[in-house]
Symmetry: C2
Subunit: 156 residues, 2 copies
DNA sequence: CAGATTTCCATGCGTTTGCATGTATCGCCG
DNA sequence: CGGCGATACATGCAAACGCATGGAAATCTG
């Protein structure tokens, strides 16, 4: 049996994940504290951002939920708040009447752009000095690969 | 001016961060849902884990706060809950009477080990199939480098 | 060394979150 | 077609969170 080899590969995976997780915490901590997020919390901005990247402009609530680390009910209320503030609009899905489609309003798009500009600069000032261009490219490749593998997996 | 070069390096940093962030969300989502965290939430386990890795056994509350993505007040109450459950003990710091030292109880250490075992297996089953050993090693190197650079920065 | 400033942790308070559940719709299978 | 489990979103409620603040101790300053 390759018990030792398994042990060590298990440990390596755990250490890899811890490094990734701690790096995310360290960066996120700085980003959250930045003035860009004084008016809109990070979670809410993330929704605006995802909507802004959506080609059709409309996105289903359940698809949105896959991108965000939030429960379904929390996302439901988060979107409710965004709608009250006039940043997004809801609409019943035409093909599935249980579903809800979301779209940015003009103001929502403007707010996203405004915050996004500052946010991107903040990111750059954190990541840029830390890693070379080649390292960033490689990090992106590895994290993309990880996310695709994890996301594609049969949940249960 | 190298405006174009700056533009593209800014964009690359943003894309790198987004990949890292989404990968973290995807993995964390699976890990949170695992049965290992039915009794103790991830945030609380993270505190137990950090304490278990502490050489002296004792750790200051403010140092702990650097590792976790939580406000100071939330961490204060989180620790309060852990103490009520008998998993940690508090003690005034001897050299700085404002400070509070934390240590795992025997039960806390046992709980951490128990959950930790399952958690490490969950991580391995997610990360192992996704990345080769060499890729994991490289990912760890890059995220360590990123975290060190970000953490070492003058906070404000 | 007195007074002002900063650091560390705790706490009041309003907001946000997750779990459990409710309601409506969809899709499947007999 | 009719009944039944699965899916999508909303909502009641208790728990957890962040912000602002308080009090105590350390540190800085003149």
């Amino acid at each position: 049996m390759a018990a030792n080899a398994n042990e060590s590969s298990v440990r390596m995976a755990a250490e890899t994940w811890e490094s990734l997780f701690r790096a995310q915490v360290a960066v996120m901590r700085k980003l959250q504290a930045a003035p860009a997020f004084r008016t809109v919390p990070v979670n809410e901005y993330d929704v605006l951002f995802t909507l802004s990247r959506c080609p059709s402009g409309w996105l289903r609530l359940n698809e949105l939920n896959d991108h965000v680390l939030l429960s379904q009910s929390s996302l439901s209320r988060l979107v409710e708040r965004l709608e009250k503030r006039g940043l997004v609009v809801r609409m019943p899905a035409p093909d599935d009447r249980r579903g809800v489609l979301l779209k940015l309003t003009e103001e929502g798009a403007a707010v996203q752009k405004e915050i996004g500009r500052a946010h991107v600069r903040d990111i750059s000032s954190l990541v840029g000095p830390a890693l070379t261009a080649a390292e960033q490219k490689e990090l992106q490749r590895l994290t993309d690969k990880l996310r695709n593998s994890v996301g594609a997996r049969p949940g249960k």
